[in-house]
């Protein structure tokens, strides 16, 4: 990576001239005071894709992090996907352009001396097409000249760090290091503290509706928290845990409708394509009703999330998690048990329970039964990700997660279609009174039929994916790994 040479002199123009003397001539170009704002998604998707997006004087520029042109077809929006591009840092800087000319007086490179307020000054080299070698030579000459240092990071990183941020964005990944022999309460506290961090980080974006991923990540953290509360019940003080479990259930419920409608809206165009071509435009009234429902649901959720009850939960929960690492084990049966053992047992039991539940499911089973199995599957998935992944042999854990994921995907499609079908039915009444409502109802009927067919297809795929998950070999492996650990 070529980085901008850092300016350490207070007479950079003279230093550039001295360093390039005999090789190139310099003419002084425009100078300006400008403001540059850098953008990225909350989770730093551009950073991780090696890109930098900035806007200066209304001109938007996407470059690679080392300042070159990105590959053709790469756009910030494509990289960001459903995530919003947010301003992550703003710098005021004085710029001075120097044109570097070769022996024919042809400009081969532009050096932009950049003096950002409060940050390291830089000489940014902008190569002209076909003159990249000259740019590299100029870079060498400048750095050799000793008046310029090499930088380890681009300006955007300096600016984000100075503002107290992380150039790589805010991750909602777990990344907790625990050991099998750790006390179960300490290990649980590490995981739960990280989950609190994730919830706290995603709450403002959830409330501001910055993009749909904030709420999604917020809810995943809630569900993971609930899985730990349920599965490692014995590490918590029995007197408090049941009430708080109820509170987290409430928190998940009050955020549910908004998320369901988020998904519906995100998927709407795909869903529209499911309807017969002639009827697709007829679905517009449905979209209007969905949007108004979404607005109502969001309003309710925002008031719930800002309520006394939510604030009390956050405070109580924080206190309890801190308490886990404190002394005293009264009423905390599993507190001192090694986490490898405690988690292993729960994983083994969850797997066994799922196998039993799955075997009871037939093609005619109630959708509720599929749903219950899926919920159990989520719990197993979280336990595997939270505890098995850092503690157990990846050769066992990875294939198990893969088999589980295959099963969950099928169950997920089944569940989503079921929810969508139910929602379509509920929407009917309101859509009917909209302008164009009758045509919309007919289109919805056709849509419902397709959705139910998709649910049926998912059902027919259930047997095969469940068989893989519950195979003899898989069960033996689970027994061997997790049951043994528990004994």
């Amino acid at each position: 990576m070529t980085t901008d040479p850092l300016i350490s002199s207070d007479r950079p123009l003279e230093e550039v001239q001295a360093a390039l003397h005999g090789w190139f001539t310099i003419t002084v170009g425009a100078s300006a005071e400008v403001e540059r704002t850098f953008y990225d998604t909350f989770d730093g998707l551009l950073y991780h894709a090696g890109l930098t997006l900035s806007i200066q004087g209304g001109v938007r520029t996407l470059t690679t992090r080392d300042g070159s042109q990105p590959e053709s077809g790469v756009t910030a929006e494509r990289v960001a996907g459903v995530r919003a591009l947010l301003p992550i840092a703003k710098v005021r800087l004085a710029t001075q352009i120097l044109n570097v000319l070769d022996e024919r007086d042809k400009t081969v490179c532009r050096i932009v001396l950049e003096a950002p307020v409060g940050l390291r000054e830089r000489a940014r080299l902008v190569a002209l097409r076909g003159y990249e070698r000259e740019r590299d030579r100029i870079n060498e000459l400048l750095v050799e000249g000793r008046s310029f240092g090499t930088s380890d990071a681009p300006l955007v990183d300096d600016a984000v760090l100075a503002a107290g941020g992380n150039p790589a964005g805010t991750s909602s990944k777990l990344d907790v290091s625990i050991d099998s022999s750790d006390r179960a309460d300490t290990a649980a506290a590490s995981v739960l503290s990280r989950l609190i961090e994730i919830m706290d980080a995603n709450l403002p974006g959830t409330l501001a509706d910055t993009d749909t991923e904030f709420l999604h990540d917020y809810r995943v953290a809630i569900r993971r928290t609930r899985a730990v509360m349920r599965e490692l019940h014995g590490v918590f003080p029995a007197t408090q845990i049941d009430r708080l479990r109820g509170e987290f259930k409430w928190l998940q419920e009050v955020t549910g409708p908004t998320r369901d409608l988020d998904v519906y809206l995100l998927e709407f165009e795909r869903l529209r394509q499911v309807a017969p071509p002639g009827m697709r435009p007829d679905l517009d009234p449905l979209l209007a009703v969905l949007r108004s429902w979404h607005a109502t649901a969001r309003e309710q959720m925002e008031s719930d999330l800002a309520s006394e009850r939510a604030l009390a939960l956050r405070a109580d929960w924080g206190r309890l998690v801190t308490l886990l690492t404190g002394p005293g084990e009264d009423g905390r049966a599993d507190a001192a048990r090694p986490i490898g053992e405690a988690a292993g047992e729960r994983i083994w039991r969850l797997h066994r329970r799922m196998v039993k539940m799955g075997r009871a499911i037939t093609a005619d089973s109630d959708p509720e039964q599929y749903h219950e199995l899926r919920k159990k599957g989520k719990e197993l998935r979280y336990m595997l990700e939270l505890f098995a992944a850092p503690l157990y042999d990846p050769d066992v854990v990875k294939p198990l997660i893969r088999a589980l994921k295959g099963l969950q995907d099928v169950l997920g499609i089944h569940q989503d279609r079921d929810v969508q079908a139910a929602m379509l039915k509920r929407l009917g009444e309101q859509v009917a009174v909209q302008p164009g409502g009758t045509a919309a109802l007919m289109a919805m009927g056709a849509l419902l039929e397709r959705i139910q067919t998709e649910a049926k297809t998912a059902r027919s795929q259930f047997a095969a994916s469940f068989a893989e998950f519950a195979s003899d070999a898989q069960r033996e492996l689970v027994d061997e790994t997790f049951k043994r650990a528990a004994q």
């Binding site: 209304g58 996407l62 003159y131």
Partner: protein
């Protein structure tokens, strides 16, 4: 030419004769296209390398003309940025004088140039070819590759000669690539005070199938000074008669090439070209003498065009 999303137009400045203002036209029109926010390439096909010289670029292409035709390396790798934003140059090379021989070695020599240009179409809105004066395989190849030929004609030439040249070309155009290459002639090095010039211009503009454009480039010191200044006239003398005439010429050409995309008087059939008396003075774009100085806020002059909205596009 294969249609791309960009709808690139390939324009060749061409005349059998030398010294009629081909290079000046190519350089100035390409400059104007780029200044208007279009990604533009000029390929200097003339081994004399006059355009290359004007842009201060070394007249050297590694592997020479033969290498380019054989596509031994990516054509794009030989492109040099000029000092003007959005305007790139594919330089001349001394070996281009043997381009005929090199072309002759291919099965379909006339289609070869188009093949070489094809990978560049996605990167440019306009590709200008500055062609050597001749009738040869090279010119045939250029007719195949170009969407339009821009033919400068000096009205001083005996009127019958000028007529023959244009007539010959308009017929030749029809034998060009499928769909036909458009031919736009315009008067170059015109002396509007000389009765002979005026007579010739008037007569030839009256002949419909010759498609002579309304704007004419006057004989002017500024055009000659380009060699000294090594810049398009729009850069160092933006309000001169020459610069204004090139603006008018470009507006007219662009209007013909993209009649739908420009909010200006619809491109008219050639008969309706402006009156003969004052083609220069009447040019519609006098008020935009924009020099090339890059806007202050845009130091990353070479930043990717994809993400950089054309903020400073002047209205024509």
């Amino acid at each position: 030419m294969a249609k791309t999303k960009r709808d690139t137009k390939v324009l060749a400045t061409y005349n059998i004769k030398g010294g009629v203002g081909k290079t000046s036209a190519a350089v100035n029109l390409a400059y104007l296209a780029a200044r208007d926010g279009h990604s533009t390439l000029l390929w200097d096909l003339d081994p004399q390398a006059a355009s290359t010289y004007l842009f201060r670029v070394r007249p050297k292409v590694k592997g020479g003309g033969r290498g380019l035709l054989r596509k031994r390396s990516r054509t794009a790798d030989h492109i040099k940025a000029t000092d003007h934003e959005l305007l790139d140059l594919l330089p001349a090379d001394f070996s281009y004088r043997h381009l005929d021989l090199a072309l002759d070695q291919f099965k379909k020599p006339a289609a070869r140039l188009r093949k070489v240009l094809e990978p560049l179409l996605k990167d440019y809105d306009y590709i200008f070819l500055d062609c050597p004066p001749s009738i040869s395989l090279v010119s045939e190849s250029i007719f195949e590759a170009a969407d339009a030929l821009l033919v400068p004609v000096i009205p001083a030439t005996l009127s019958s000669r000028a007529y023959e040249q244009l007539d010959e070309l308009s017929r030749r155009g029809r034998v060009g690539k499928i769909g036909g290459t458009q031919i736009f002639s315009f008067f170059s090095m015109a002396e509007v005070l000389r009765p002979l010039h005026l007579q010739v211009m008037e007569r030839l503009r009256g002949i419909e199938h010759l498609k002579v454009l309304g704007a004419a480039i006057p004989v002017a010191d500024e055009v000659e000074m380009m060699g000294e200044e090594r810049n398009p006239v729009g850069v160092f003398a933006p309000t001169s008669a020459a610069a204004v005439s090139y603006e008018a010429l470009w507006a007219e050409i662009e209007g013909r090439l993209r009649p739908d995309s420009l909010p200006k008087p619809a491109a008219s059939p050639p008969v309706e070209t402006p009156a003969v008396e004052s083609p220069v003075v009447e040019s519609p774009v006098v008020e935009s003498p924009v020099a090339e100085a890059p806007p202050v806020e845009t130091p990353p002059v070479e930043t990717p065009p994809v993400e950089t909205p054309q903020a400073q596009t002047p209205t024509v």
